[in-house]
Assembly symmetry: C2
Homo-oligomer: 357 residues x 2
DNA sequence: TGTCAACACGCAAACGTTTTCGTTGCGTAT
DNA sequence: ATACGCAACGAAAACGTTTGCGTGTTGACA
């Protein structure tokens, strides 16, 4: 077992000083050609690579970004991570992942853990519990410590930072508009509780699309489901809820669901009740995941472009990190002033498949 | 913006030495009760938290583990990550994720990047390209530098390290046995090219199950597909291949597929060709993902328990890291001797759903 | 021959910790 | 009064880098 070689060891071996070795390896022209060659050859032979931790300590930056998301076994979130990772890697950053599991305390713990020097900035999506409690002190403190945050998808106005969001409103607006132009009159909405911001926006888009087309929204056609039903183990309960919903509202001719699972479950129930899709009932879901592509019939969805979201978020964060560097170098003190936070909106696409006409 | 407070700042402010502050905060009894209280109160007020990077440098361990996987938008891999993250967090570790995207060079780059001090050990699954080239020098070098590796799922005998694998052989053996006991005579296998070890093992299990039941395997009933077909964009090609396969072999009464996608695609094609499932053709897939649960009919699968794999892998790695620590403290030099690598086999389960009788 | 660049390199500080080894001051036993 | 032990704290090294500054050795030039 041969541990990694350090500058000190090289220096001792070649009988020069540590600084000489460092400069030689960094191709400083302060070092004579001969010694430089010798040192570089030696270093190459022993496969010298500078120690990242030491560099991090010295430079006060780690070149890694922290990702904090509620769940990783989830098509959307993992797609975002992929986008982040690609850009991060391109630009010389690593990613360290923390999972909140939708829990407030885990989110706080994870954040504090990583904020103590482990990362240069965060990219995160807020956990449901945090959104419910509306307690955002950990975000504020982190930002106050000079650690930039980029939020995506589940964001919140109270926090001043860069954001990347999906146009949930327009996405569902267009989806519902599509259903209307396909001749649907009684369009049902299957959604979640309101405290998740994206759910609220998607509901608003639904309502607005109806109104703009002179259709009076009926509250009976809106099914609000508890989040816990989205868990795999409660799938049958979810089906039951939706089935009752259908039975209460036999006039339904279209369904817009705020996520993929609700949509495919609705399709499953509809077929069980002997509705034909898309002839009797047309269905559109939000979030284009693996289920939508392979459902039967394949599901028309509002695609969120998760990877692009991740890429944009990573660019935003890294841009800001580099900007901060420059400002520190130029001893520019008006850091507070030019904060200039951006919110990037990623447009959704309606991917038409077989669940709509 | 208030940057994080350091020991030095506390020391200066309270007019004591850095060492006193450090000891006071660590509750050393070398420090007088009074000063200790004072320092702790001050530290608490300014929310002092030790800098992780400095600790890492001092302790020569980072308390983070590197995960290196081919792909993250993948039910199995993300499930494994979740398992790793849970255990890692419990035991005080962070996880940093690198994606090889099935590429050899990206795997090497990522590994070298992280091996320079950023992590204490690796948990990884080998990329297809690496398996194809059979070039494992980067694993060997990493291990040689004293950085332990735990491999999962896609492992390789050439490398001596801890491993967590699925019993691919027995899993597919039992699946095929089930099909046979359900009365199937002409069981087709849809698999990948051989160089992915798990694919090979699953094929072997298939063959052995047939032989043990006096069924002569026919090569015409084995469809080997190129991996690239598994990509979303080539879905129609995949369907075409499978459709031709069906047409060549009209006697097929069961299908065993080595992954979820092949299985559901086969079901889709079978239905298109007006076979009934499970009456005419029964189907079993490997890898229990989201597709299997929601396919129509729902797919009987061999479940791999990805989360458990991740948890076991994390335990193996962390156990070894702690073991190494002890050995260093006791200056035990016979590190090489008691390597004692384990291979944990996670048994699969056959989850019976509606695609089998 | 003396002066002064230019060159090539070493010293030491700094990043933020922990920890070993002192160093005080003071009370107590001899 | 001397020695000794102990409590309470400080100085400094170490982890592995980078970098500003100092220094010695050249060579050229006046």
């Amino acid at each position: 077992m041969r541990r990694k070689v350090t500058l000190k060891q090289i220096a001792k071996e070649l009988d020069v000083s540590i600084s000489t070795v460092s400069r030689a390896l960094n191709n400083s022209k302060e070092i004579g050609e001969e010694t430089r060659q010798k040192i570089q050859a030696f270093a190459k032979f022993y496969n010298y690579k500078p120690n990242n931790i030491a560099l991090s300590l010295k430079n006060r930056k780690t070149k890694t970004i922290g990702i904090l998301i509620p769940e990783i076994v989830h098509h959307f979130f993992s797609t975002v991570i992929r986008g982040i990772e690609i850009v991060a890697n391109q630009r010389g950053y690593n990613v360290i992942v923390g999972l909140s599991n939708e829990s407030f305390s885990k989110e706080v713990i994870n954040m504090e853990m990583l904020a103590n020097g482990s990362i240069d900035g965060f990219i995160l999506s807020i956990s449901k519990e945090t959104l419910l409690h509306q307690d955002y002190h950990h975000f504020k403190e982190t930002i106050n410590q000079g650690i930039p945050i980029v939020m995506f998808d589940r964001v919140v106005n109270e926090i001043d930072c860069d954001k990347v969001i999906v146009d949930d409103y327009k996405g569902s607006y267009n989806a519902v508009k599509k259903l209307i132009s396909n001749g649907c009159k009684n369009i049902a909405l299957i959604t979640t509780m309101d405290y998740v911001s994206v759910g609220k926006l998607r509901t608003q888009g639904y309502l607005q699309a109806l109104e703009d087309n002179k259709i009076h929204p009926k509250s009976s056609l809106i099914l609000k489901l508890d989040d816990s039903l989205a868990l795999e183990e409660h799938l049958d309960i979810l089906e039951g809820e939706i089935e009752e919903f259908f039975n209460r509202n036999s006039q339904i001719d279209a369904i817009f669901a705020v996520n993929e699972l609700y949509a495919v479950t609705a399709m499953k129930v509809a077929r069980k009740l002997e509705y034909n899709i898309p002839e009797d009932i047309q269905v559109i879901g939000f979030t284009d995941g693996v289920l939508s592509k392979h459902a039967r019939p394949s599901l028309t969805t509002v695609s969120q472009h998760g990877q692009k979201i991740g890429e944009q978020a990573a660019h935003l964060l890294i841009d800001r990190l580099l900007l901060d560097d420059e400002e520190i170098e130029s001893e520019n003190i008006d850091l507070e002033i030019d904060a200039n936070f951006k919110t990037i909106v990623i447009e959704t696409d309606l991917i038409e498949r077989d669940s709509t006409k």
